[in-house]
Structure formats: structure tokens, C-alpha cells
């Protein structure tokens, strides 16, 4: 295969990865089954790792291969395991019925958010930007902002946490393209940080579950302004 052809193939593969990555962000907004949400998150993390491998090959950067390996170890294996341990199985089997905004409207709002992130990313992608940045930056931002929206509309503990993790995935999806030469210690610390996030919030969800016998954190409304 000639080098040109290979680069064009990698670019297209990366674009495909990006497209499915964004689709996963939409999935977290729209899907009620909690176990499916978790699987979508794992799938999204896997896509992040694939994109990191493509970019690592493209930039010939060993860092990005390390990022991909860390992503797979932490986000595909450890995090789902911790989450299943922390929150009882019955919570996953449940469907979340009450959402603040119904699903078709939510998905429409998510589309608007995705367009908005292309709008804010476009002035940054000047002539100097490479073709891979043009895919990764807006899609990463879109996943970040859609994740933030997910956290606000979902009322259950696990989907809220998955929303936060999707935001993190989005930030890293953009990050691997725009900041591939971040020091290795920062990458390691970031992977460690994501793990602590899951542990802390998972444990907290478990304690809330013990206290009120459910994880519908959206119903916690004792503290507010009168």
C-alpha cells in the first residue's frame, strides 16, 4: 500500500471512529436501560482508544499508544467492573422512566448542541490545523457538551456518572489530536484521576442507595432556597 493511500485510509477510518463516537454520546442521552448505557460507554471508550492508535501511528508518537493502552485498561475493564460492584445489580436491570425532558426532545437538543460545538470549534481550525484535528476537535467538544446535558436531564446516579465520564472521554478525544505531546506523567495522572472519580462517585452512590434504598439522585431535593 502506498503511503498516500494509507494516510487517506487512516483519515477515513478516524472520521468513521469519530462519527460512531458522537453516536455513542447521543446514545447516553436517549437510552433508558441502565446496563445498555454502561455498554455504550464502554464502546465509546474503545473508540477513543482506536482513535488514539490511529493518531499515534500518524504522528509516530509512543505517547498516544500509551494513552490507548491506559484507556482500554481503565475504561473498558476496570470502570465497568467497579460500577457493577458499587451499585447493585437490580439498579442496572431497571429502566429509568422519569426524565426531566422526554427523549425525542432531548435528542433534538443534543443535535443543536452538536451543531453549536462545530460553530465554536470552527474559528480554532484555521489553515494550519491538520485533517485529523478537524474531525477530533469538534466531535470531542460535542461529546463534552452533550455529556453535560446528559448529567442535567438524567435523574439516576449511574447515568449521571456516565454522563460525566462521557464528558471526560470527549475532552480526551479532542485532546489526543490537539495536544499529543502532553507529558507522560500528565497522561498517567489523568487515567488515575478518572479511576478515583469513578470510585468516589460510585461509593457515594452506594451510600445513598443504602440510605434511601434507591439511586434516584434527582429526587434529592431537601437542600434548596426557599
Amino acid at each position: 500500500m502506498s503511503p498516500d493511500l494509507l494516510v487517506s485510509f487512516l483519515t477515513k477510518l478516524n472520521a468513521l471512529t469519530g462519527g460512531v463516537f458522537l453516536l455513542c454520546a447521543f446514545g447516553l442521552v436517549g437510552i433508558r436501560q441502565m446496563l445498555t448505557c454502561l455498554r455504550i460507554y464502554v464502546c465509546q471508550s474503545l473508540l477513543l482508544a482506536i482513535s488514539a492508535v490511529i493518531l499515534g501511528y500518524y504522528h509516530a508518537s509512543i505517547h498516544l499508544f500509551v494513552v490507548a493502552a491506559l484507556t482500554i485498561v481503565t475504561k473498558v475493564f476496570i470502570i465497568p467492573w467497579v460500577l457493577r460492584q458499587a451499585v447493585g445489580y437490580e439498579s442496572y436491570a431497571k429502566r429509568e422512566i422519569s426524565q426531566a425532558i422526554n427523549i425525542p426532545t432531548s435528542l433534538l437538543i443534543a443535535v443543536v448542541i452538536a451543531i453549536f460545538s462545530y460553530y465554536i470549534a470552527s474559528p480554532l481550525l484555521t489553515a494550519g490545523a491538520g485533517v485529523l484535528e478537524k474531525v477530533n476537535l469538534p466531535i470531542g467538544m460535542a461529546s463534552l457538551l452533550i455529556g453535560a446535558y446528559t448529567v442535567t436531564v438524567r435523574g439516576e446516579a449511574v447515568p449521571q456518572l456516565l454522563g460525566i465520564l462521557a464528558m471526560e472521554n470527549g475532552a480526551f478525544f479532542a485532546g489526543i489530536s490537539i495536544a499529543p505531546n502532553l507529558p507522560l506523567i500528565a497522561e498517567l495522572a489523568a487515567a488515575f484521576y478518572v479511576l478515583i472519580t469513578v470510585l468516589v462517585i460510585g461509593l457515594l452512590a452506594m451510600r445513598i442507595h443504602k440510605m434511601i434504598a434507591k439511586t434516584a439522585v434527582g429526587e434529592l431535593m431537601a437542600l434548596r432556597e426557599e
Binding site: 480554532l124 475532552a171 478515583i196 440510605m211 439522585v217 434529592l220 437542600l223 432556597e225
Partner: protein
């Protein structure tokens, strides 16, 4: 080397606190550790007062005057809170539950470690991680009392600040992208400053907005403040003092450090956003102060207001306003710790957080009442407190700059907040002591007469006194090296002298 010792002492205090050697071992280790950290920080801060830099590991661990100032404040509040914890936790946690006490002190030290790391780290990606670790390591301290309300507060705190973290992360990664235009530039505050003229303005501006909103969530800027009054009122009082007094300020430090990156400093877009966010925060918080029914929430809203004032001062521009911002950071930190210690003493004496339930505190617990009154007056900005001096110098600097509208609004909000705080505190301190509200939640009145006067533990009084001294003293007199430190820190923000 001091910087490495500070981190090492902090981490070993956290580990040693877990050793089961009786009820007094963990608080003892914590107090000794924090005393050592305070002395080391004082040394570091004084070394940076001349405008120099203390470097432990180049491009990773270093302190200039601004970070030296924040480091000193973190260590000071940490020391005072360690003293206060000693009495407070011994009184509130059951006599048999030694494990809970050890866990408390271990988490307390870890939380302080992450906070000390914020000014000590100079590599931006690590600063981000340190800021986020301050959240994660304090979540269980916020939920320490394990009531449904405390867990709710902890949940909101964790979820909202982690959302903010991801937003700030993309801002930081964008800055790292901008840095790639300059070869060999380290990803530190100083490296960014030297590389910023070569970054595209659109990139710098977008990164700034992401970081302002992301870290602003953690600093409690309106409208991202909703978690703050919950978390800062439900946590145990010494933790409230750290959260409200220094955690917010340490995060604000990261935001303010972005200001000199913009050409023109405060006169640029960044300065305008500071003024807008600052005025909204100060204004909304001043009016929310009036309606609170919980005195710890009252002080939490006052924190939101002060964050607003500091941001406005940083955004006004000019050396005088920046010096005012630095003084405001110092005075807010010491005075707010004093307020939360006084609130904790009040809580120990009365057992309720409700303002309506407490009357005539001065007869129930004179110590708590006096410190609550003095703390309230100082945080509201009555002369001769440190807050009065700093607010006055900010207003004066703004008038000299000719920004009359901003200053008029700010002065109005400060006035409203003064009224709000003092009205509530007067109601608690004075009056007849024989009616107290029995139930915090149901708001049912019951008559009860507290027979004996209540004296707080000695270590609590000590913590109150050591925060009271700077809260008043700095309003009258600033020691020369400390003034130098403030001066150098303000100069780093890029206002002309």
C-alpha cells in the same frame, strides 16, 4: 526543596493518622504536621516576597509570589482547621468510634495535600489534576455526617464540580495546543506567558472561556454556584472553613493567572468577563443572603459574594486594583475561616443550624456569640477589619480608573450584603435566650431553657483566636515582608505600577 518537604510532610501526616494509637494520636499528628507545613510555607512565601521564584523541580514544582501567597494561605487555614478539628471532632463523634476519627484526620490531610499541590505545581495539566483531586478527596468529608442532607450535598458537589472539571480540561488542552506554535516552551504558567503572543486570539479566548466556566463552577461563580451553599453548610465546620476560606480562592487563583496571557491584560476581553461574572456573583449572592434560614448557608453565600468581588477587582485593571484583589484574597481567607469556626462553635453550643431557632446566644455561649458577632462584622466589611481595608482599596482603585458604573454596583451589593449578614447575626446573638427551636426540619417551636453556660473546647478557642488576629490586624497594619509579597503578586497580574 521546601516544596517537596511540604508535600512529603502532608502525605506522611495522612498515613500516620491511620495508625490506631489512641484517640489523641491522629489529631496530634495532624496538628504537628500542619505546623511544620505552615513554617515551611512561610519560608517559601518570604523567599518569593522579593519577586524571585522558589524552584524545586524545574517546570514541575515551583512557586512565584502569587502562588507563594496562596500556599501560605492554604497552610494557615490548614493549621487553624487542624486545631479546630481537634475539639470539634472529639465533641461531635461518639466516644467509641475511634475508627471514624482516624478516617476523618486521614482524609483531612489528604484534602490539604491536594490543596497545597495547586499552588506548588506549575505544570498546567498537573494543576488541573490537583484542583480536581481537591474535589474528590473532600467529597467524603462533606458527607462525613452521613445524614441524607449531607449525602445529597456531597452528591451535588461531586457531580457539578466534575462536570466543571471536564470543561476546564478542554480549555487546558486548547492552551497546550496553542503552545505548540512555540517550540521548546514548557507547559507552565511562565511558559504560557512567554508563548501567548504567538497564540491565535480565537484559541486563547475559547480556552479562557472554557476554563472560566469550568473552574468557575468550583469557585462558586453564579450561575454555577448551586452546589456551594449545600456543600459548605453540610460539611463539618472545620472542613467548611477550608472549603469556603481557601478552596474557592485556590481555584480562583488558577482563573486569575490566565489574565496576563491576554495582550492588554485586564483591558482585554478577559477583564470584561471577570467584571461581568464578578458583578453577577456578588449581586445574586448579596440578595440571597437576606433570605437564608441557616447560618452556615449565610456564610456560604457570603463566599460567593467575595469571589465576585475578587474577580471584579482583578478585572478592573491597573496595579492598585490588582493589589486590592490580592488583599481581598487574604482578608477573605482569614475572615471566612474565622466565621466558619464561630459557626461551628455556635453549632456545638446549640445543636441547630437554623437562624430562627437561636436567640440570645450571648447568654448561652458567650464565646461563640462574641466570635460570631466579630466574625460577622469583619466579613461584612466593618472597619477596622481586613475586609474593610481591601474592599475600600478596590472601590478607590475603581474610582481612580473612572469605572463608576461597576464601582457603584459593587458598592451597592457590598452594602446589601452587609445589611443581610448583620441583620441575621444580630437576631441570633442578642435577645432572650429562653425560646429555642427544637426541630431543625419541622420548624416546630418548643420551649427549652439551657441551664448551664456552654464553653467550647480549648483548641477551638485557639483556632478562633489565631484566625481573629490577622482578620483584624491586617486592617490596621500589614507587616513589611507580607506587604512586599502582596505587591509582587499583584505585579504578576500585569498592571502597570
Amino acid at each position: 526543596m521546601e516544596l517537596i518537604y511540604i508535600l512529603l510532610v502532608s502525605i506522611s501526616a495522612a498515613v500516620l493518622s491511620l495508625i490506631p494509637l489512641g484517640r489523641r494520636f491522629a489529631p496530634g499528628v495532624t496538628i504537628l504536621g500542619n505546623l511544620a507545613i505552615f513554617l515551611l510555607s512561610l519560608r517559601t512565601a518570604l523567599a518569593t516576597a522579593g519577586g524571585g521564584e522558589v524552584i524545586a523541580v524545574r517546570d514541575y514544582l515551583s512557586c512565584d509570589s502569587f502562588s507563594g501567597l496562596i500556599l501560605l494561605l492554604v497552610a494557615f487555614v490548614g493549621l487553624a482547621a487542624a486545631f479546630f478539628s481537634c475539639g470539634y471532632i472529639a465533641t461531635t463523634v461518639g466516644a467509641t468510634d475511634d475508627r471514624k476519627i482516624r478516617r476523618y484526620y486521614s482524609r483531612f490531610n489528604l484534602f490539604l495535600l491536594s490543596m497545597l499541590a495547586v499552588p506548588i505545581f506549575s505544570q498546567l495539566a498537573l494543576v488541573w489534576i490537583a484542583v480536581e483531586l481537591t474535589t474528590l478527596l473532600s467529597v467524603f468529608l462533606v458527607g462525613f455526617e452521613s445524614t441524607p442532607q449531607a449525602l445529597e450535598a456531597a452528591w451535588k458537589y461531586a457531580v457539578l464540580t466534575c462536570m466543571g472539571a471536564s470543561l476546564a480540561l478542554i480549555g487546558i488542552l486548547l492552551l497546550c495546543w496553542g503552545l505548540s506554535a512555540t517550540p521548546q516552551a514548557p507547559f507552565t504558567w511562565a511558559g504560557l506567558l512567554s508563548a501567548s503572543p504567538r497564540m491565535s486570539p480565537a484559541l486563547l479566548y475559547t480556552a479562557f472561556l472554557f476554563i472560566l466556566i469550568g473552574f468557575g463552577t468550583k469557585a462558586g461563580l453564579v450561575p454555577m454556584h448551586t452546589w456551594l451553599p449545600d456543600a459548605h453548610s453540610q460539611a463539618p465546620s472545620p472542613i467548611c472553613a477550608i472549603l469556603s476560606g481557601i478552596e474557592t480562592t485556590a481555584v480562583l487563583y488558577c482563573i486569575i493567572r490566565l489574565l496576563p496571557l491576554f495582550p492588554g491584560g485586564a483591558a482585554s476581553e478577559a477583564g470584561k468577563w471577570f467584571v461581568i461574572f464578578g458583578l453577577i456573583s456578588a449581586g445574586v449572592a448579596a440578595f440571597l443572603l437576606i433570605q437564608t434560614k441557616d447560618y452556615k448557608r449565610l456564610f456560604a453565600f457570603s463566599t460567593v459574594e467575595h469571589m465576585g468581588i475578587i474577580l471584579v477587582a482583578a478585572g478592573l485593571g491597573g496595579f492598585a486594583a490588582h493589589l486590592g484583589a490580592m488583599m481581598q484574597i487574604v482578608s477573605h481567607t482569614v475572615t471566612k475561616s474565622l466565621c466558619f469556626f464561630a459557626a461551628g462553635t455556635t453549632l456545638m453550643a446549640t445543636g441547630t443550624r437554623s437562624i430562627g431557632a437561636i436567640r440570645g446566644l450571648i447568654r448561652i455561649s458567650p464565646v461563640a456569640a462574641i466570635f460570631l458577632l466579630v466574625g460577622g462584622l469583619s466579613i461584612a466589611g466593618a472597619p477596622p477589619s481586613a475586609v474593610f481595608l481591601s474592599e475600600f482599596s478596590i472601590l478607590k482603585a475603581g474610582i481612580i480608573n473612572g469605572q463608576y458604573l461597576v464601582i457603584g454596583l459593587l458598592a451597592f451589593f457590598i452594602g446589601v450584603a452587609f445589611f443581610g449578614i448583620m441583620q441575621q447575626i444580630n437576631r441570633m446573638v442578642f435577645g432572650s435566650a429562653d425560646i429555642i427551636l427544637m426541630d431543625n426540619r419541622t420548624q416546630l417551636f418548643g420551649r427549652a431553657i439551657l441551664s448551664q453556660r456552654n464553653t467550647p473546647p480549648l483548641t477551638c478557642i485557639l483556632a478562633l483566636v489565631i484566625t481573629l488576629i490577622p482578620a483584624i490586624l491586617f486592617g490596621i497594619y500589614l507587616p513589611e515582608p507580607f506587604y512586599q509579597l502582596l505587591h509582587q503578586a499583584a505585579a504578576l497580574l500585569g498592571g502597570s505600577k
